[in-house]
Every structure is written in C-alpha cells, then in structure tokens.
Symmetry: C2
Subunit: 150 residues, 2 copies
DNA sequence: CTTGACTCTCCAACGATGGGAGGGTGCAGA
DNA sequence: TCTGCACCCTCCCATCGTTGGAGAGTCAAG
C-alpha cells in the first residue's frame, strides 16, 4: 500500500504520515525498490489507532505511551486506564477554562445594549483595573493545542 | 516605566511585550536615550486590555479588532457585541468537541477493569475498525491554541 | 571600577499541521 | 516508444503564541 492509499485508509494526511515517522512515533515504513513507502495492514491498524487517539485529544507523546501499551502484551490494564483518566482530567481542566471564558464573555455581552451607541460594557470590562472580570484566571501558564482532521 | 516593570504591571511577559510590538498589535513603545522601551500608563492600560482579551481566549487578530473598537470613540456597541458573541460561539464549539472526547474516554475507561490483567477495552476501542467510538468525530480540520499567563 | 540585574536584538525551538518547490516513478493511452 | 498525468520523494517555509538562549550594551549600587 502506498502512502496515499494509507492516508485514505487511516484518515491521516500524507504529510502527517511522514511526520509521525520522522519524529519516531511510528516505525519507518518499508520502502519499495524506488523508495516509495509501503504500508502493511498491521501498519494501517497502528495508524488508525494513532488517529483515534489524536481525535480524542491525546498528544503525540501520550500516544507513544499508548502505542507501547497497545503492543506490549504484558501491560496491565490499570496502566492504560490511568493514562486515559489522566487525560480526562486534563480535558476537563480545559473545559473548565472554556466555561469560565464563556461565562465571563456572556456576562459582559449581556450587559451590552448592542446598538449604535459607542458605550459598551464589554470594552470597559476588558479594560477594568483588576483581574479579568469577574473571576480570577488561573495563574499557571499553559499551552495546549489540538486538532481533529477528517 | 521599563519593560520589566510593564511586564509585572500587566501580566504580559517581557518576551510577549516585544512580540506584540513586532507584529503590530500595539504601537512601538517610546525609547529612552539608551534604547530601552518606556511605557506610559496609557500603554499599560492597553496592554492590560490585551492580556484580558487573551485570557478570554481571543486570538491576536481578534484583539487587534477589539483594540480598534476600544480606541475608536465612534464605534457602535453592536460591533463589539457581535465580535464577542462570535467568539462565544467558537468557544462553545470547542467545548462541544471537548465534551465529546471526554464522553468517549470516560465511556471506554468505565469498561476497563483497571487491574493487572492486560486486556483493556480502551485499547481495543482505540483500535476498532470504524470511526472513533462511539460517535463520529467532526470532519473539518481545526487548529486552536490558547494560553493564560499569570 | 566591579558586579549583578536589567535591557537590547537576533535566532531557534516547541506542537501539529499545511503548503509548495524541484525532482523522480509508475502506469495508461496514442 | 513517447507523452502525460498522478503519484511519490526530500527539502524548506509558514502558521500561532510563546519561551529560551546567546552575545552585547546599560544602569545603579557597593
């Protein structure tokens, strides 16, 4: 199977297939006589696994750990569950942050008459003296990103 | 006010202060005789505004629009409200996606006994034949990131 | 004058992804 | 066989917001 077919079969873009190989998330694919990557059904299954984990918001490093467990017959399901639940907690944390943002914005927007007049509580709220109104934001820096590709 | 003090006063890191200037989000700061950036109270207020908008998950481009509105006395509050509500919708979309991930993961984890045995429904769920179980993921690619710095 | 804390600019990295250039390959049809 | 097209290869660059460091200059206190 060529890389294009593998891409269609897994939902992972050609670019990402090469990238995952480059960063060592998956083992380098075999090559044809002319240097084309060749994928087996086993490879395809693994890549589908990777894609689903990405869809669930796992980061590549976490997926590497999951792949290890997946391929290791001696794993304990507790290890997998622990990884998964750690991730759930992280997602829930992000969710709380989103909730807070949404709440604040909705609150501000609710007090904005939204007509042609220039005075707007959203802007005055944003330029208020203290913390982001009305609740304080978390203090720890964080940096998250995720993507779902279809 | 030097850049370090401005950073403390606004909660924006020194690095980001220079970056925001570089990308044109804020006007270049005045300079002292020796080339140090000097910030006025007005600058500080503007930077606080920027930081709060970032805390609310606005992207830099959106903040630029907000800053325009903030500084433009002739703005219509409807414009601000519209921007804010657009953003709320985007945040809500992200939240739905998070919810779906969390739901799927919790469902999988719930069916995992989580002991020393190797068989684990989380892994088998991830390697299932079809879409990410149990619900299909969204099809459109998306790429989001946010940060809160304290 | 030295020392340390600050500042400057420039360059690189992160994470995951997309885009494109410039070149080789494989296969089908004329 | 030649041509053309779709595919593949490896590079490099851009994104977005942010951090880190190197190498050099500046400021103020001791």
């Amino acid at each position: 199977m060529n890389i294009g077919e593998a891409s269609k079969a897994t939902g992972v873009s050609v670019k990402m297939l090469r990238y995952y190989e480059e960063i060592g998330l998956v083992r380098p694919a075999l090559r044809s006589h002319s240097g084309y990557r060749v994928y087996s059904e086993k490879n395809i299954a693994m890549l589908r696994f990777v894609r689903r984990a990405r869809d669930l918001g796992f980061q590549v490093k976490q997926i590497a750990a999951l792949l290890d467990l997946w391929q290791n017959g001696n794993r304990a399901s507790a290890d997998v569950k622990s990884l998964a639940l750690d991730h759930v907690r992280e997602l829930e944390q992000r969710r709380r942050e989103l909730d807070e943002m949404i709440g604040t914005l909705v609150h501000l927007a609710h007090h904005c008459h939204g007509d042609e007049r220039p005075d707007c509580p959203i802007l005055t709220g944003l330029s208020a003296q203290n913390e982001t109104p009305p609740k304080a934001m978390k203090k720890k820096a964080l940096h998250r990103s995720f993507a779902a590709v279809g």
